[in-house]
Structures are given as C-alpha cells and as structure tokens.
C-alpha cells in the first residue's frame, strides 16, 4: 500500500502524550501548586492528628485527673486553668481531640461502609432492591436527624458504641444517595456490561469496575460528611447525650464551662475558656473544608482560565 515513513504500524500510532509518573511524584507536583488555604488546612489536620494520636505525651496531666483547685485562672501550672471540679482544661482539650475526632472518624467510616455498599448495590441492581433501599432512605431522611438521634440515644443509652452506630446509620443515608447517583453514571458504561457478560459477580463489579471510578466525589464527600458527624457529636455532647463524663470531649467541655462566659467582664481569660473547645471544633471544620474545596476543584475538571 504505502512505502517509507507512511507505512502504518499500530504500535507507532501516537496516543495522547502522558508522562509516566508515580503516585508520589504526582502528589508532590499537585501539592506544590496547591493554594495556601489547602496547605493551611492540611497543616491543621496534621497537627490535630498528631495531638490525637500522641495525646498522653503532649498533655501535662491526665484526662480525668482532679486537682484541689476548681475554676483556677490561666497560669503556668494550668495553662488554660481548671474546670468546675479542678481538671486541667489544656490536658482535657488534647484528650478531647482524641475522643471527639476519633469517634467522628470511626462513625464516618462506618457511614461510608454502609451507605457506599448499599448505594453501589442499588445502582447495579436497579430494580426491587434499588426501590426498597431508596424508599427506606427517603423515610429516614424525612425525620430531622438530630432529633431522631436524640430519641434513639435516649432509648438505647448513650454509650460510645451506640453513638457511633446511630450517627453512622443516620448519616449513611446521604452517602447512599451520593454513591448511587455517581455510580449510575458508571454502571451504564460498556466496561461494566463487558464484566457482566464475562460472568463477574456483584462484588467484583462493585469493587473493581465501579468503585475506582467514583472515588474522587466520595473522598470529597468523606471530608464534608466528617465535618457534619463531628458537629453532630459535639452538639449531642453539648446537649448531654453524647460522649459521657469523665471522658473529655469538646462539646461537653463547652457546656460545662459555658457559665464562665459571664465572667468575661472581670477576667477576660476566664471568659475565653469555654470558647477554646468551640474554637478547636471550628478550626478543624474550616481546615477540612479548605482541603475538600481544593480537592473538589482538582477533580471536577473545572479550571480557572
């Protein structure tokens, strides 16, 4: 047919030019281009994680160690003073990171496990299972979740396990909806049909064919969902049905010391004390949102011109 340089060869065909990079070099390049908000967010999350994991090393005193001096002012001995029964607030804040954040992480993981699995199954099945799950989720979502959680916690009792289970189930409804929605776009792809024709089981199709293609929105949702779970737990603790004393957590610390705010006119530092755990909650929430925003922007394909 043709001679010389015009001879056709399949291997010589020019594909799109993509440089081979490992995951780490790509991550490094992305990080070097990240905005300051995302870097700030990542730094904050990193510090929180370190504090939570190594809490006993950083905290000067024990989590529930009681000193004879209640409501002590800020000093070199008690950096942020002591609370109503004489526990060091600074130490409790560090331990609080471990409890509040730890429980929130566990709850979010569980919510994704439940919601993600059911969402994928519903998207693939598309018939009675989809109908059943979707309508059940509609029913659950129709009830205000904080009030529903309050009711359930009063019935089953406020243990940590119950707290995790109840919030995870309530939050999995939103994960279910998202997973189902994004998976529906992937389920119609020819490669999923090809896997079905090959005779692959539901598990393989979920795990290997669909999940890797819907990860970015799920990871972004994980960040946001974590914030909501975290706030729900703090709110429940503030209301007294969340994490129970003497375990330190930020929500109940705000409640316990709330009355100190009224003393701000006499001692500004005392007035600030109950705001510290609230600020810790706010800072983490903002930090996570910064990172999620950046991540969403990266993966959505929307770029500023």
């Amino acid at each position: 047919m043709t001679q010389g340089k015009n001879t056709y060869s399949a291997a010589g065909e020019v594909g799109s030019v993509v440089e081979k990079r490992t995951f780490w070099t790509r991550a490094k390049i992305e990080l070097s281009k990240s905005p300051w908000t995302a870097r700030f967010g990542m730094l904050v999350i990193f510090i929180y994680a370190i504090l939570a994991i190594f809490a006993p090393f950083f905290a000067p005193y024990g989590e529930a160690q009681v000193f004879p001096e209640p409501y002590a002012p800020w000093s070199s001995t008690y950096i942020f003073g002591t609370d109503q029964i004489g526990r060091d607030i600074f130490s409790r804040m560090i331990f609080g990171a471990r409890n509040t954040v730890g429980i929130a992480v566990a709850t979010t993981f569980l919510a994704f496990l439940i919601g993600g699995t059911l969402g994928l199954a519903a998207a693939i099945n598309r018939s009675w299972l989809d109908q059943f799950l979707s309508r059940s989720v509609d029913v659950l979502m129709a009830i205000p979740s904080l009030i529903f959680a309050l009711v359930l916690l009063s019935i089953f009792g406020s243990t940590v396990t119950n707290l995790i289970l109840i919030i995870a189930v309530l939050d999995s409804t939103r994960v279910f909806r998202l997973t189902r929605a994004v998976a529906l776009n992937v389920v119609v792809m020819d490669y999923v049909e090809a896997a079905r024709l090959r005779g692959e089981g539901l598990g393989w199709i979920m795990r290997r064919e669909i999940l890797p293609n819907i990860m970015p929105p799920l990871i972004a949702e994980f960040g946001l969902r974590f914030c909501f779970v975290f706030l729900t737990i703090a709110a429940l603790s503030f209301l007294g049905v969340g994490i129970q004393p003497p375990t330190a957590d930020w929500g109940s610390m705000v409640r316990d010391n709330a009355s100190l705010i009224m003393f701000a006119q006499y001692d500004l530092k005392a007035g600030l004390t109950p705001l510290l755990p609230a600020a810790a909650i706010a800072l983490l929430t903002v930090a996570i949102n910064f990172v999620v925003d950046w991540f969403l922007h990266k993966t959505s394909g929307l770029h500023d011109e």
Partner: protein
C-alpha cells in the same frame, strides 16, 4: 452589514497561521504555519485524520480559538480585515452574521428550551439584518429549500420533536439565515445514518449553490468531501499535505499520504462459501419494556465466516446482539449455538457458554475501565476463564499483544495513554484472551480514522484465518461490509429485509430498502450526488 464581495474575489486568506494548545503543562503545536485562500462562492474541503488540526483551522477561519488554544503567528484576513488583531467584541460583529458555523452534533448545539424558528433567526434579528416577521418568513423559505417537511410549521417545534437529520438541516438554515459570506461546516453529517446523510448533503449543497456562499467543509470522509467541495486541502499533524481542485485531487493525488487515504476503501474480502452453522437465531421476538423492537428475526451464522448485519440506527441490529449475549432475554424464539440451545438469560448460561461468545464494542473508550492497566484488562479473562496466573499469565498477555501487533511495552499503560486504534486493539485482545469461537463486533471501526479502520479490519481478517473465528459484524457502513463480510443481513425497523451471500445481496434485484441503503453510500465521484438527484427526479 452590506455585502461587498462578489464571486471570484478573495474572501478569506490565511497566511502562515500557527496555533498552539495547552495540555499536560506544556504548549503543543496544533497548526504549524498553514496558508489558505478562499474565494467568494467557493467550497473548500478540509480533510484529515483526527488530530490533524482541521477543526482548529476551521474555527480559526472565523478568528476563534477554543479555550486553551492561542494563535502564535500568522494572519487571518477576512474581506480585508485581519481577524487576529480584533478584540472579541469586534469579532462578534462578524460572527453569526457574516460568518456562521454548523457543528457536528446538532442535538448538542440547540437549546432545548426554545422553538426552532426562534433559534434559527436569533442572530439575524439581533444583528438588525431583518425584522422578526421577515426573518421568520425567510426561515420558512430556507426550511423548504432544505427539503424539511412542513416548512411553514416545523419551526414551531422544539429540538427534541424533530429527527437528527432534520435538526442538522435546521442548523444549516440557522447558519444561512443572516446570509453569511462564509459558512463553516464541521463534520455536519458524521453522526447521521447513510440514507439521512444523502438528503442532508443534497440540501446543504443546494443552499450553498443557491445563495453563492463560500464554505469550508471539514470532514474525514473522502466520498462526502468529493460531493461538496470545489477544492480539497489535505491536512496531517497540523501541516498541509497538498491542495488541488477536487477532480484533480481524486484522479491524481500527488503525495504518498493522500494516496494512502484514497486506497483505504479498496480492501475487499474474497467471499467464502457457507459451511455448518455455528449460531442460529430462530424467529426471535424481543422488546424493551412494552416496545417491541425485534419481529420474528432469524439469522444463520456459518462457522468460520463473517456475517455483517447492516441497517440504520433503530433497525434492531444492536438489540439482536444483546439477545445473543443474553443481556436482553428474548420473548420468544430460540438462540442455538453450536448445537445447543442457549438459555435466554445471562445468569443461566454456563461459564463456558459465556466464554465462547465474546463482544467488541463501538466505543473503545467506554469499553475499558479507565482505572485498569492493559495487563489487568487482558489478564482478567485469562484468570477468570482459564485460571492463568503469574508468569504463565504474563507470557500469554505478551503473546496476545503480539497477535494484535502491539508489544510488551504496552502492558502497564492505562487506556487514556493509548490512541483510538490501539484501544480498539486492546479490546480485541481482551476478547481473544477468552479463546472464543464467536465474536460480536458492534460498529468496531465506526469511531476510527480511515487508515486505522483499515488496520483493524485487516487484523480481524488475519485473526479469523489463523484462529478460525466466526464474526457477527454489526455496522452501518457499506464499505466496511464489502471489506470484511461473507454474508450480509439487511435489517430495517426490527425485521430482516434480506439475507444471503455478499454477492447476492449486493447485486440486483434488491428489495426497496436494500436499494435505498446501497444507493445512499457516497462514492468517490464528484458527480455521484448530482447523478443520484437526477435519477430521483426522473423516477
């Protein structure tokens, strides 16, 4: 704006144009210094493979670059004005007024919320060329010139209420409405069926002739460009290969590359006689929900041969494939494969039955998981059906890659790092990995460039000879059928119109539908469309 140009004047001249596009953190050349001259009333055909830069050049002729592209050198002089020196606001006075654009996918280019006539006349009214009443009247006139049904009232419909071919003609009417000096057609008929394509081509040509408009017609289909263009320019990798008047170009192409483009359609398989049948569909009825799409379809596929199923979209050819694979259980009828009846539903079929029937898809992009490497894609059927793992599997993957004329360097690539033809080859390798007897090829070449198509078809023919495969080849392209088929099944609206050996089906007498289908295929003859129209007028 008043028109100053008359026939023969230079309307558009592009000199030394260079355009770069930004991707993967770098600027890449898309167009490297192209010159182009277009006279008033002249039609220029731009052809080339994907990535040749023809669409970029077409848009650049209007002074427009897509986001992420920039013009680095050269000038674009339209009627004495250098478009590269104008601001967007100034260029907008030309766009939709003196120069208009017809896009490939009409369905994606219309606003679904407005009536057709409103969209047809919007730019004309906005530019103040005509008032609403006369613009509407003119639009109805254009609809009738373009041979649209019920030209007085079709404009009252919404985009979803007309067919794809009609929509493409409405878009041409929209482009003609301000009576532009220059019309850019960007692959306007690529998404249409052959029988629709002929009508659209004929009406486009008549309207360009009637109003003596200059046009740039971008396509990858040589036969189509032969009908439309006065002059043809061949592009490759952003460079001009050659330019000549249509007849001269068709009869005596100068460059090797152009000759290779021209020779693609010469591939033709020598027909083999039928032997024992491996697959037979017996009076199949099938439906999606309540809508019945297959009516009493019977197809015989002899072992070791290729049966081509041809028909337009909606003819039921892909549905027939879904019945064979078990994705759509039939309502009645039998699918008999190699002497045994196949259970209608996929889940009731044995692993071995699934293995022996494999499928290759039209869009290789969506047929491969973008997150899996070539090794995983080809390796999975090896592991799943044949239990191959580790080094045995690797060895087999390399063998398969060599079979499809690729090599070991491809194993760790992701689908996004392959060209269109390579992707389709990997899909073929995935099908071969299962060691099937029967492969369904669903429009496997229709998304590819001509030269790549030929490579894939040759590969399929060679594999058939070596491995004794049987193909069911679904296509709407008659030249592909000529290239690969032994037997042909013609389908229309869920029924088999005609079935038999290729020579029998392609030689007269034909049933009406086959006649229409065959006569609609553009030929590499500039007079083909005119002759066809004369024939129609006579009959």
């Amino acid at each position: 704006m008043n028109k100053k140009t008359k026939k023969g004047d230079v309307l558009l001249s592009i000199k030394g144009l260079k355009i770069q596009g930004f991707s993967d953190e770098k600027w890449h050349d898309i167009i490297n210094g192209i010159d182009l001259t277009l006279h008033a009333g002249e039609v220029l055909g731009l052809i080339g493979e994907s990535g040749a830069g023809k669409s970029t050049l077409g848009l650049a002729a209007m002074g427009y670059t897509q986001p992420g592209c920039r013009i680095t050198a050269g000038e674009i002089i339209f009627d004495g004005v250098d478009l590269t020196k104008l601001t967007d606001g100034e260029k907008r006075k030309f766009w939709g007024n003196r120069m208009t654009y017809v896009a490939q996918s009409a369905a994606a280019s219309f606003n679904p919320a407005h009536r057709l006539i409103v969209q047809t006349t919007a730019s004309t009214i906005r530019a103040g060329i005509k008032d609403q009443a006369s613009a509407y009247e003119d639009a109805q006139h254009l609809y009738s010139v373009l041979n649209l049904p019920d030209p007085k009232h079709i404009g009252e419909r919404y985009p979803h209420q007309v067919s794809g071919g009609q929509l493409q003609r409405v878009m041409t009417a929209m482009a003609m409405s301000p009576r532009p000096d220059l019309l850019i057609f960007d692959e306007p008929t690529t998404a249409l069926d052959v029988t629709t394509q002929v009508e659209v081509l004929a009406s486009m040509r008549s309207i360009v002739e009637e109003f003596n408009t200059a046009a740039i017609y971008i396509t990858h289909d040589l036969a189509v460009v032969a009908q439309m263009a006065d002059v043809i320019k061949v592009l490759r990798y952003g460079n001009e290969v050659e330019e000549a008047p249509t007849r001269q170009m068709l009869n005596a192409p100068q460059q090797e590359y152009t000759k290779s483009l021209w020779s693609v359609r010469s591939l033709e398989k020598t027909q083999q006689e039928a032997e024992v049948s491996i697959l037979s569909l017996q009076s199949i009825d099938a439906a999606y929900g309540l809508e019945k799409v297959l009516h009493d379809v019977s197809i015989e596929v002899p072992k070791g041969s290729t049966v081509a199923v041809v028909g337009e979209s909606g003819s039921g050819k892909s549905t027939a494939a879904r019945v064979i694979t078990g994705l759509l259980p039939q309502m009645s009828g039998i699918v008999r494969f190699d002497g045994e009846d196949l259970p209608p539903t996929l889940s009731n079929r044995s692993k071995d039955q699934k293995r022996r029937i494999q499928m290759i898809y039209q869009m290789a992009d969506t047929a491969m998981n973008p997150r899996q490497t070539v090794r995983e894609i080809i390796g999975r059927p090896l592991e799943f059906y044949l239990g191959m793992r580790g080094s045995e599997q690797t060895k087999r993957i390399v063998e398969l890659l060599e079979m499809i004329e690729l090599d070991v360097s491809f194993t760790e690539r992701l689908p996004g790092e392959l060209s269109g033809g390579q992707k389709q080859r990997i899909c073929i390798a995935r099908a071969l990995a299962a060691e099937p007897d029967f492969i369904i090829c669903d429009e496997v070449t229709s998304a590819l460039d001509q030269i790549v198509q030929e490579g894939i078809l040759k590969l399929l023919l060679r594999l058939q000879e070596e491995l004794g495969l049987t193909y069911l080849f679904i296509t709407h392209d008659i030249s592909t059928v000529k290239a690969i088929a032994d037997q042909v099944v013609v389908m229309n609206q869920g029924e088999v119109v005609e079935q038999g050996l290729k020579t029998e089906v392609f030689s007269p007498p034909h049933p009406d539908y086959t006649e229409l289908l065959l006569s609609s295929v553009p030929e590499m003859d500039p007079d083909w469309l005119s002759n066809l129209n004369k024939k129609e007028i006579r009959s």
